[in-house]
Symmetry: C2
Subunit: 466 residues, 2 copies
């Protein structure tokens, strides 16, 4: 007889922790550090503060499985978390502040909690969280996660007076891991994070006591992404339903103008005409099939205005080129920032850089660097949409480029209010057609510029010979 | 000011449907069909019935995004679902009957619900479910999912008298998809499903009205996997905590013997001695650090008995070889079933087949077929642990095999009470060390047998020349 049960989302990720990126002791170290660092960078940018992130990883003792127990500690000077929200922010899965339509590194509401959960199941020790938003109090928690209920369990809570007006967050817990195996990827992650976040000061003390310092190279934060309305292109019926349920607008025309990005009276009129709906009707009177028709029209309507980029925070060509030159020391660099586009209602911008020669090694293939919302992606590159573009969709011979012989690197940064990660561990991007097209066009433009450079170079060298 | 929210698991997978395998209209067709077929095969095996699964995909009309709207319908003669459980089984994410320690295709409690959710958000139409467990009633539901609450919304419920004692389930709903793009993978999936489930009758009517029939080639079900106790090797403290919370045993010794697989009095005694715990203590008196010590000892204890395979249902060498010969028509086949092993408390068995020559094409690389719990895995092979073993860990030259030139296929089947999928879409397996080791040893044994065959063959051909 079948036994039916329901499980909490924390229990789901406990049972399937491979899915969240915690598949082995070395991968757990990488995933833990990246989740905490990304939380810290988000928190600093949220309050327009130049980030200072201090990471310490201390080896405690060997673990029974041939790995080690570590103490992880990450401190930042960011927004902090309100005292009453700390238990859920860190002790409940699918709880967070980043479900809004704004570009942030975090998006699922589970990364930080997952790291703490993994630490808990491998060491049975509580997590220590200290945080203040800069007001009069510093909140000091010791907590564990009730995995079956997906609820925090506060073991101890102290409040300190905040004499210096400190703001920020300290997260500290023990976990089993394998830093020796994880080290190359961890250092790679820190290095590439520094490239695309040049305004951040990051320090890392590793288990051997070695200190790594990534000093900021610019003192200016990028312009902050603003929260935005959903873009009408690609909206589905569920989104429409939710907006209709909570709207105060009294007419369909006002409904479209109020709740969608860059929809004015005349555009709203055209959309409603095509959907055969009276612009003056109250949105709450629509039947399910009328909602479905409206969604279908909006998904095929070609004349919406492209999103403006105010909800996005691209690197910009200057920062991207400077980072490429500093790290790769190439002979030739070309960078391009594509115009804003949208998929399924989410605005996005693709930035592409191409680098040739100089310090770039000949590896027999193009070296691919991938970034999403300023996060370096270091795993599963062959499953990523960028890989597909470069290896399956680009015709390099047309550009007189031979990927097997030329020393070539391609850098791709995607920023969006929702990055279409294929995995919970944020390892690679799914091949959404609109995004694939933008990456392809960006790489083609970059390839064309490389081709012109190489032609001039070869002509020059031929000229020299004569 | 940060706005904190919590979202339901249905909402999580709605917002991140790429993660569940619904990343494009063509992928959605594949994911929907596979999730429903796997549910049907599980349901038939659960009541020891030779499976009959009828799949119909009808094209309704074009969709606004250049894809199409389809009606999907899957009928089986399996266990059926109890009437009062149908709404949650199909309308709630993380609800199901496969959270037990028994080999089943389903494991997450969300595949079927996700398919219905995707149909709902693309067509705004309800799903139609008809099911009976073979008793006096047939339950007939029309339902939708309240995504924000993760709860089913029953629109209509009828009960019919079950005159013929029918048992089984019919699932029917509309969705947007792209069958033309999905077709090669869908047909591949059906073909490979038929290979590793030769006792199943599967028919598929595609949108063009073409009928595909996969007749059963054997009339005998594999011996049914039994539900099992967790294997003690690799158990973590959270598992111990839950068992302690619900145990009725009065001593630690009885606790270990009662709740773990193949633990007898003397083994329990050795484990407790090493953990410095009195075997007569009540389990509920353990402190957190004692639970942690016990987990650590159990995770490093080398002398647990290997799991018996009663909770597993491998293909068996006969079925695996027959399937390989029928499909690939090779000159040489070798198959091996490894002994049961365990990772993190979950028993597993690896089965490896190698096929050479004959009908196997020379593709410049080894053709890899992957299966997990009798499910074909058709995506992301380069991220899979089997790919890593074959391409990074195997030294083929040692076996006088040249993967780039020899016509070679490798077939790997992993069965376990928990398959370590790296993704919710069940695309590829994570590289758990114990599983990687078993696959590597199986492939080595297969390669050694191929080497002996090729040596005899070449000696024979050299002999013929003289
Ligand atoms: N260092 C920090 N400073 C300020 N707030 C934080 C910090 N770390 C976590 N938070 C808060 O806790 C919430 C939950 O964090 P968590 O990492 O679990 O999810 P997320 O960052 O929202 O999404 P993701 O799973 O994609 O990382 C965040 O949304 C944020 O509000
Ligand atoms: N055709 C069917 N016959 C009988 N029971 C079914 C059928 N389809 C679904 N169910 C029941 O509904 C539950 C939920 O199905 P769902 O596919 O959402 O999750 P699952 O199969 O348990 O796990 P997974 O997400 O890995 O597929 C199943 O556990 C099963 O009990
Ligand atoms: Mg986070
Ligand atoms: Mg299922």
């Amino acid at each position: 007889m079948a036994v039916f049960e329901e499980i909490s989302p924390a229990d789901f990720f406990y049972r399937n922790r491979d899915i969240a990126g915690f598949s082995s002791p070395s991968r757990a170290i990488y995933s833990t550090l990246r989740e905490l660092i990304e939380n810290s960078l988000d928190a600093c940018e949220a309050v327009r503060v130049l980030p200072e992130v201090r990471i310490t990883l201390r080896e405690l003792r060997p673990s029974p499985t041939g790995a080690f127990f570590y103490s992880v500690r990450v401190v930042d000077n960011g927004s902090g978390v309100p005292g009453d929200k700390i238990p859920q922010a860190f002790g409940q899965v699918l709880f967070g502040s980043k479900f809004r339509l704004k570009q942030t590194r975090g998006t699922f509401g589970l990364g930080g909690t997952m790291a703490i959960l993994y630490g808990q199941i491998t060491t049975e020790m509580p997590a220590h969280i200290v945080s203040s938003t800069g007001d009069r109090y510093i909140h000091d928690y010791e907590l564990m996660i009730d995995i079956q209920k997906n609820k925090p369990n506060v073991l101890r809570y102290k409040v300190h007076t905040n004499r210096d007006g400190w703001h920020g967050t300290l997260v500290e817990f023990t976990m089993e891991g394998d830093y020796t195996r994880a080290m190359p990827k961890v250092l790679d992650y820190l290095k590439q994070t520094a490239i695309v976040n040049p305004y951040a000061d990051i320090t890392f003390v590793d288990p051997k006591g070695r200190l790594y310092v990534f000093e900021r190279t610019i003192r200016k934060l990028p312009s902050p992404p603003k929260e935005t309305l959903p873009h009408p292109y690609g909206v589905d019926a569920e989104t429409l339903y939710r907006l209709i349920a909570m709207t105060n607008t009294k007419s369909l025309s006002a409904f479209l103008m109020e709740h969608f990005h860059r929809v004015g009276k005349s555009l709203a009129g055209k959309v409603l005409e095509r959907a055969n709906l009276d612009p003056n009707r109250s949105p709450k009177t629509l039947t399910p099939s009328e909602v479905s028709d409206l969604a279908n029209v909006m998904r095929s309507f070609e004349d919406f205005l492209p999103p403006d980029a105010s909800c996005l925070s691209p690197l910009g060509e200057e920062i991207l080129e400077a980072g490429i030159r500093k790290e790769l020391n190439p002979e030739f660099v070309f960078v391009t920032k594509r115009k804003p586009s949208a998929y399924s209602g989410y605005p996005f911008i693709v930035e592409v850089g191409i680098a040739y020669g100089g310090g770039i090694p000949r590896t027999g293939d193009i070296v691919l660097y991938r970034f999403a919302n300023r996060i370096p992606l270091l795993y599963d590159e062959t499953s990523d949409v960028s890989w597909k573009v470069i290896h399956n969709l680009m015709d390099w011979r047309y550009y007189k480029v031979n990927p097997a012989e030329d020393p070539l690197a391609i850098i791709i940064h995607l920023c969006s209010t929702k990055i279409p990660y294929k995995t919970v561990g944020k390892e690679f991007l799914s091949d959404r057609p609109e995004i694939e097209r933008e990456i392809l066009n960006g790489v083609r433009l970059a390839a064309r510029n490389l081709m012109l450079y190489l032609m001039r170079k070869r002509r020059f060298e031929i000229g020299k010979k004569r």
